[in-house]
Amino acid sequence: MTARSISTGLGLFIVGAIVLIALGAGLLAPHDPFTQDLMYRMVPPRWMDGGTSLHLLGTDQLGRDYLSRLIYGARISLLIGSLTVVTSGLIGTTLGITGGYFGGRIDDAVMFAITCRLAIPLILVALTVVALVGSSLTVVVLTLGLLLWERFAVVARTTTMQVRNLDYIAAARAAGASTAHILIKEILPNILTHLIVVATLEMALAILLEAALSFLGLGVPPPLPSWGLMIAEGKDYMFFSPWVIMVPGIALFVLVFGINLLGDGLRDLLGVSQRR
């Protein structure tokens, strides 16, 4: 076992565990994440003074079970992460492959779009949009999805340019394949490994951005248990009970860390860096 495969395994384990937790939230969570119990507010976790086995990770300022909110929060993070990646992946890959394959004016237009996108301050635009339209899960996903496509586009474009001139593309054309067929069935499968790696990295970024938006009060609306929102709600109490921000903070760190490890591992595993 090399250090590489250990870290990939760790990433896979973390992401897999969090996905399982998110899927089985209904079974795993000891309490309803929305039920308030004002008699039990700000109960510290089990291992601290005044902790109780009833609430393993304590309760928040409204007496909601912190562990249950954390478990349901994993759903929000993963949902936003994956939906954002699907949206931005579709946009970026379409633009990138089109620009990379056709070149010329079309490529100029794609490059211009990428440059424009890179000039846009992410958080600022996301904040503006959410502030104007109002916050909901859909708005957050769409906003992030429409903003995070540029890395997909850059990678799809360059890899398409490499693949475009290979003989099997010419051979496919000589066998009568249409342009659409070549783009979707000949080129796309051969650049997919690169895109998967981008997708993992973008997913981590999307999860962090959602947390940031929620922290600023413009992400998913309360009372949905988003990790970023939990940190935001806990920030008033952090001087007296620091665990209210540490628990979701650590969860966020572990998830993003795991996804990044997995992405690095996949890149090596799929031979992306060495292949060409």
């Binding site: 010329g104 003989d167 051979a171 009568g176």
Partner: protein
């Protein structure tokens, strides 16, 4: 006999001003192997690609006549052309190692062609693919169908490419240096295979090569290309027996012929390289490398008939 492929005065130019093909004419008859010979950069591949309409952007093609049977290739839309490619007109490329898509199995790539042109089911496509793999001499075709290109050797891949080109029973097969990338032993097998298939199926074969050995064993007709022009065209026998153009003579001097080439005498060579030719070039493009060059060579060169079906583009040729 009516030619399968008829080309007259084909010209291809690139946007940087190079004239890659300068007015070539050739016919390929049914069941005939027509070899297009010449050194690298003389426009052989460009000719093949322009017949298939596979030239990239920035290339301009024009031709007086370019017909496949009775269909005018110069007037066909992209879609009509795509329908013809891989169906009645197929092509084999030089590099078998990179000509198959690494993301799909051999079977799926082969079946795809038949599905596209004949609208058959995947199962029927795979059946035909297996039959053809057997036909091109691949043992255990059933197993090969589910393998990926990286699991096959170069020779096997070239056989797969040939089988794939035959999926829709083409009438014209264009092979662009099909054996250049292969071992000598495999080369011989592939050539024998092409020859056998051609005889069986009555294919018209346009074989592009720089190897005179291949020409000698495969061709019925030969067109020698130099700097975008056909400098000599003849039947294979006539060409080897009595080459009329100094370039052809030079080429033939470069390869030993058993019983003909004298011992202890160095083989010939042609000094220099193929010049880059712009659009307005006049005269013989070979004159700078030709030992017989005279002042007449920088004027217009007439195309002359040396014998029946034997033409050459040279001032020296008897008219």
């Amino acid at each position: 006999m009516k030619p399968v492929l008829e080309i007259a005065n084909l010209r291809v130019g690139f946007s940087d001003g190079t004239a890659a093909v300068r007015g070539i004419s050739l016919n390929v008859l049914p069941g005939e192997t027509h070899c297009l010979v010449g050194e690298s950069g003389c426009g052989k591949s460009v000719t093949a690609l322009s017949v298939m309409s596979l030239l990239g952007r920035g290339a301009k093609r024009s031709a007086e006549v370019m017909r496949f049977h009775d269909r005018d290739l110069t007037r066909m839309s992209d879609r009509e052309m795509a329908r013809l490619r891989g169906d009645k007109m197929a092509m084999i490329f030089q590099e078998p190692m990179t000509s198959l898509n690494p993301a799909y199995t051999v079977g799926s790539q082969m079946a795809e062609v038949l599905e596209r042109h004949r609208h058959v089911s995947r199962a029927q496509g795979l059946d035909r693919a297996a039959a053809l793999l057997g036909h091109v001499g691949i043992t255990a075709p059933g197993m090969r169908l589910s393998q990926y290109p990286h699991q096959l050797s170069g020779g096997l891949r070239q056989r797969v490419m040939i089988a794939m080109a035959l999926m829709c029973e083409p009438e014209l097969l264009i092979a662009d240096e099909p054996t250049t990338a292969l071992d000598v032993t495999v080369q011989a097998q592939i050539l024998r295979l092409l020859q056998g298939l051609q005889r069986q199926l009555g294919l018209a074969l346009l074989l592009i090569t720089h190897d005179l050995g291949i020409v000698a064993r495969m061709a019925q007709r030969v067109s020698v290309m130099y700097a975008g022009q056909i400098v000599e065209s003849a039947t294979a026998e006539a060409l080897f027996a009595a080459p009329a153009h100094p370039y052809t003579q030079g080429l033939l001097n470069c390869v030993p012929i058993p019983g003909k080439t004298p011992r202890d005498q160095p083989l010939g060579s042609i000094p220099g390289v193929v010049p880059r030719i712009g659009a307005g070039f006049i005269g013989c493009a070979f004159r700078d490398r030709c030992t017989h060059a005279t002042t007449a060579c920088s004027g217009d060169i007439p195309r002359r008939s040396v014998a029946q079906h034997h033409e050459t583009l040279c001032t020296m040729a008897p008219s």
